[in-house]
Symmetry: C2
Subunit: 547 residues, 2 copies
């Protein structure tokens, strides 16, 4: 059987565009001789529509789109993803479903059994789990059609509880009893740089255990924070990956399940993948919100430098403008390094000295502040004045402000709310400072783009004379390791100390993380590249006592 | 049997305080002759700990607390709520459980079957649902012990799908087969002014259907946004409410299930309940985060006036300070009305003219802005300059900034991000403007507290000459009704138009709501008093196409 794998980028709620794109690829697959074309999970709506699923008019539109798409399935079958109403009187209102389209209509519906409800996933909020299993017979082959998590009965454990099987049911085990020839899985599985292997491992394990080949089609493209990386594939019943599709871009391939020559893949570097993920994240945020232009504050430091490089790659240099905003605490090299970068990238830049605005605040506040010593209040006025300047550009010219905070800062609250924490989108909020350095070096691999001095100099917020990040934070190598253990691996402080980290440093770090939940609560959406990003995938109570 | 109902205010993760409070009430119940004392859902941890439940050390602490509490149950039994580890190899790691403590130990565990996973509830994220049912025999009575949602198999429908039963299982039906004498339900059920009747209706319906009396103990107190209102009660097998405990405060009562004299209740006004809910919400946010003092900007308008009245009630006038921040567009009455209110409430106030700071920004920006016309960019500079001033006070003196935005503004995006949308806590973000007026009138019922002129004058942001809210928004009566239908009732624009609202106004309003998701994403936590507040109970995708 010839199967087309359509790995496409959908836009949530954009039924017109998603439908047009789906139909176009059905016609293309048919023209190229495919018997069946497979799309990804919730392809009709885009993954994930969140509470739009609670709106009846949204579901009505999905239904109309499904019928429109089905009407093009003549001489070819298709598998698409859509929410489908649960007409039973009990349970959640919808099923997350794969629909088998043939002969111009929906021939069968295959509901998702395992509903991920952890981290960024929230499916039990909207969907009822399936409990019945059946195959589709098509052109002499028996197809087991599954949706994403249905293959993920067993998961890698990232906590100290040590449980392996998250679910009571094993859909593939149930389906295997019906003796299929082939498993088809439609997915919306996001990129996480530190769990890259997990997906392939699961697919291979299932193929071998049930002695079944698997066609796996994943969504590609970003939906606000979440970046779907594609990487669709075909795995034979020995667990061999015979076809591997591209990462971070749309792709379309037709395979003949009877006759495939294995492909050798060159595995990309993790940093390169993170880079591509972030570029895709920025680009899709702008494309899907209908904006074109961005602005950011360039400090001469490494975070804003890297953010600018990523943004230029995603949006084009002509759509970027940057603001250099020195104060009396800014060193000469800050402005010079920032100008050098803007020139290297040929990006429009302006220099606005913030001192006059800062002085105006301090003058107006002096009757209230009296002669109290200079402290974080005055430091924050500087960061917030910069926040006003970049937002003024944003409001006046329609450029979206990109936030440049990295994950290490975001974790420990080393940033000013309503100041440098401003932005429509946080580009590096899930990238630790040590990875910011690593990625910057990688960007310079063929010659200097980010000025060497920006990479070499000790990080500083420059909010008071001779300030260095290390005045208030552990060195970033240590800090990032502690944070990774605490946040990504969910380990307890005592476990981290047992690993050999200094007790006082661990406790101080953990305390900074916990006491800054309130700041992160108001942070912009953060492009997610790890298994545990700040944002809605990690919900911590603000008023809790942590110790 | 004599049963003590302990309706208490817990602090998430504060095991020390929660345990001490629980033990104190066990001893008190014993002293006063009770056979059994009942606490509320997850009383050991506080409801709801969110992803702290994923941390093993948190669960270990809960376990220790349970054993500490159990050791005091001699000569009296207690029912408490705690997460309990699922030792089975399959499923989520925890059960949300009611623990029956007697003879110094945990005698039985009763797991929650129905896990609310909608609106603000997220329980399937952390808990495995129960599927086995059993009673407790104690002092000759057969007790059916249930946890909150277990009684909520049937729910009021607030959407256009029209489904009645949210769950596949009916725990009470299963338990009724075992022939209990009494149902005990431990709850954490939040206040919603527009669903006040639902809870009682469910309890009465269940009591009558199964011909069983129900002891219902609810949590009281706020956890960041969510306000639990208490109102614990005892209902006989005819569905008669015999005992009704207080709302919005801790309460403790011992009932003799054999011998109760019905109490007549004076039902409170909805506005009064909202008022009490908001006061409790403010007070608990401060108490539980360890802060005492608040600051807010007083504009002379009704929103900041009402916020101040609520804050003074919650925190005491000595813990408040306000900033009056006129610009050249501020009318005289703004300052006069604000001063009058501050004096009425005897609150420390300072006047800072923002014009100098605003002018400094405009001067520094003029080479960039050239001669482009005055627009929203300049308006926002004013709002953001005010944001800097109040945050400077906050940083310098340790006062938490209270946000004064109301729900109508928040819905349509009528506010400046990083300006008047700043704050540690949004007090009125779930209160529509028409209710802001209603509550202000109610506050003045025995004499003027909020200056009459503040209530009477047409609302204005005063960011340009002679600006009125109605320049850009429909009148608030119309706006709030459209918003309520769209947000709380989840109705489609076409359904709302069918109700008789002007088509253009509905479409414009809905478009404003949808295009401002990005602003609300960065808003402070909002005290929730309705069935659908902005915040984590309403998650809408930012990059979606809405139309």
């Amino acid at each position: 059987m010839k199967i087309a794998l359509a790995q496409l980028n959908y836009h949530i709620g954009n039924f017109e565009k998603n439908t047009e794109k789906t139909i176009r690829h059905i016609l293309r697959a048919k023209e190229e001789g495919a018997d069946l074309v497979v799309f990804s999970e919730l392809s009709v709506t885009g993954y994930y529509p969140h509470d739009l699923l609670e709106r009846k008019e949204f579901i009505d539109k999905a239904e109309i789109a499904v019928h429109q798409i089905a009407s093009h399935c003549n001489g070819i079958a298709a598998i698409i993803g859509s929410p489908v109403i649960n007409h039973d009187n009990r349970g959640k209102k919808l099923y997350n479903s794969a629909l088998f389209l043939n002969n111009g209509k929906v021939e069968s519906i295959h509901r998702k059994s395992l509903l991920p409800t952890y981290d960024i996933f929230d499916e039990y909020r909207h969907f009822e789990p399936n409990k019945e299993f059946s195959l589709v017979e098509y052109k002499g082959r028996r197809l087991a059609i599954t949706v994403c998590e249905d293959l993920w009965e067993e998961q890698e454990v990232q906590n100290e509880f040590g449980k392996e099987k998250l679910y009571q049911v094993s859909p593939l085990k149930e389906l295997a009893k019906l003796e299929p020839d082939l498993v088809i899985n439609i997915s919306a599985s996001p990129f996480s740089y530190n769990q890259e292997g997990a997906r392939k491992k699961i697919l291979v394990k299932n193929a071998v255990r049930y002695n079944l080949p698997i066609v796996y089609v994943n969504q590609v493209g970003a939906q606000t924070e979440i970046i779907f990386d594609g990487g669709s594939c075909f795995i034979d019943n020995q667990g061999e990956i015979l076809v591997q599709m591209n990462y971070f871009e749309e792709d379309f391939q037709i395979i003949d399940t009877q006759n495939i020559v294995p492909l050798q893949q060159k595995p990309a570097d993790t940093i390169e993948k993170m880079y591509k993920a972030l570029v895709l994240g920025i680009r899709d945020y702008f494309t899907k919100t209908g904006f074109k232009k961005a602005v950011l504050g360039l400090s001469g430091g490494i975070d804003s430098a890297l953010t600018l490089v990523l943004a230029v790659e995603a949006l084009g240099r002509e759509n970027l403008r940057v603001l250099l905003m020195p104060s009396k605490f800014s060193s000469d090299h800050s402005v010079n390094d920032a100008v050098a970068l803007a020139k290297n990238l040929d990006v429009q830049y302006e220099i606005i000295n913030i001192q006059e605005a800062v002085d105006a605040f301090q003058k107006s506040l002096s009757p209230v502040f009296q002669n109290l010593p200079h402290d974080v209040a005055e430091e924050n006025i500087q960061a917030r004045a910069r926040g006003i300047f970049v937002m003024a550009i944003s409001n006046k010219f329609g450029n979206i402000l990109l936030n440049t905070t990295n994950k290490s800062e975001c974790a420990v609250g080393y940033g000013t709310l309503y100041g440098d924490m401003n932005g429509g989108l946080s580009v590096l909020g899930d990238v630790y400072k040590t990875d910011v350095f690593r990625m910057s070096r990688w960007i310079n691999r063929n010659g200097e783009i980010i000025p060497e001095n920006t990479i070499m100099k000790p990080p500083s917020a420059e909010l008071r004379p001779n300030q260095k990040d290390t005045d208030s934070l552990p060195d970033y190598d240590t800090l990032d390791q502690i944070l990774f253990n605490y946040i990504e691996l969910n380990q307890s402080p005592s476990e981290i100390i047992r690993k050999g980290f200094d007790e006082a440093t661990v406790l101080r770090t953990v305390r900074m993380v916990n006491t800054n939940e309130y700041k992160r609560f108001q942070a912009p959406p953060i492009l997610r590249v790890s298994s545990k990003a700040f944002g809605f995938g990690r919900k911590m109570p603000l008023v809790a006592r942590y110790d």
